[in-house]
Amino acid sequence: MTSKIPIILDGDPGHDDAIAWMLAKASDKLEILACTSVSGNQSIEKTSLNARRVMTLLGIDAPFAMGREEPLHGEPIHAANVHGETGLDGPALPEPALEPEPVTAVELMAKTISASSEPVTIVATGPLTNVGALLILYPELKPKIAHISIMGGGLAFGNWTPAAEFNILIDPEAADVVYKSGVPLTMAGLDVTLKALVFPEDFERIRALGNRVAVVVAEWLDFFYNFHRSLGYTGAPVHDAVAVAALIKPEILTARDYYVQIETSGDFCRGATVADHYGFTNQPPNTHALVDIDREAFVDLLAEAAAWYGKESE
């Protein structure tokens, strides 16, 4: 029996998705069973190509399948201003050494979860389109999903709109399904991820590690920070990596449990994650919401993970 947590990586790489996957692959606590792409930071064609390139760079040897372009309901939105035209602008990446499986992301998730002897954890760092569809189409698999670690939302505020964080805003209906599912959820929302800042001096520390992955990670951080600096950030908020850190090193995070609901309508609040602070809903908590992080320990975790790739190639 393995002591590793079996996981599926579901994301829209994306600089911070890619760094999250870097962290996951380097951890001896996680076993990556499959990767799936979702439309979000860029179109599904672009995030899927990026996913395969990142898997190749990191040496993730797992099946991969593509998600769909559209959210479960409504029109897609992308974040080319944040992640560039390719969705992962910056350093040159290897051509993908793997082909997508001839199934949808949701089918690959279902197959992987069915085949696993242990319940599987899903790390969802993009819009929740695939995860929502999985729960709608394969409700019988719920008991075999141990946990969903989400980068998305914000208890107190949004980023893409004043009330909504990007990943939830893109597919609020899917998020609503996930939050109502009863599957244990960890939420790495803006409350914590805007504190997970990686500063330019941290980039240099990672770059100085010198291995191929570390240098690429530093260049991703360069690109990601360049955009955020224009908004007044003092570092790069590596949102998605917090959802992985929550599995590897929960002791560096502070959390509160809330019943969280998703607003799917409204003039200003579509995509808002609404936490019940005072028990108005009489519902037990459905979300382990991360609210604070030991930033320096988080940077250490990223740097140690990047260093692991140097040992790998020796």
Binding site: A156, N159, W160, A163, L194, E263, G266, D267, Y278
Partner: protein, 308 residues
Amino acid sequence: MTPIPVILDCDPGVDDAIAFLLAKQLPQLNVLAITSVAGNVGLEYTTYNALGLLEFLDWDIPVYRGASGPIFRKRVEAAEVHGSNGMAGFDLPHTRREVEGINAWDAIHKYAVEQQGSLEIIAVGPLTNLAMAFLKYPDLPHLIKRIVIMGGAASEGNATPAAEFNIYADPEAADIVFCAGVPVHMCGLDMTMKALMTPTELDQIAALGSKQAIFFRDVVQDIVVFMSKLGITGINMHDPAAVLYAADDSIFKAYPAGIRVETKGSITQGKTVTDLFSDAKWPKNGFVAMDIDREAFVKRVFELMSKY
């Protein structure tokens, strides 16, 4: 320094009553009139309570009756917090005072014209009266200098998980006010949940000995019990904090923001949405008070109550 001419628009209401006690003693404010609105309890009670409070304080200013409910929707109230009469069962003195012959929004316009642009509004109930005034008088935005409200929150709610009571009670009115073109200073839950007075401090106020000081402690007792069920020891001075902010904002921290009100969401109606923390930015139409120096606040309350 000339005191700021203000109208206090309110729905007394227990913490409104405290706001009256403080507003009367604040040298920075010249309260010209009270306008009543349905909110914590119905308009018949809030108007009666406003008159009774003025009688109790021996304070001669006019009261104008306002809106009996929100503009577009059904009325909600907070009688479980304020008691069925809005004064937690406390009997205010009978009064022969009567309301004035014109309604609240006409009065707001009348005073605004008279004050030639220097009038400020302190609104500590639902914003129905102000919205009605803006709907009726297109020149009004040019005649009001500033609006200080108790209402809303950048983050959480107290009527629902997303919405604060005063905004939830009339979200459309609130959005009309935020969009009217007059700077709105929002004293919401982000700040007022920190404007806490402890039971010990309430006893110390009462020990000042005046009937007003004893009333201060006694009228809030039911709310202290109510709050203890939420795990909060003491009482949040929501409305009084807004009044003190209007008089002197130096013990508060407020930030310019774009603020709108959600009127249509399925679980967020009445939420004040601010762009304070988001990457997306809106035109700035007001300020959000996020913090208060609690110790300095309590000290000011003591100083004001010592004047009775």
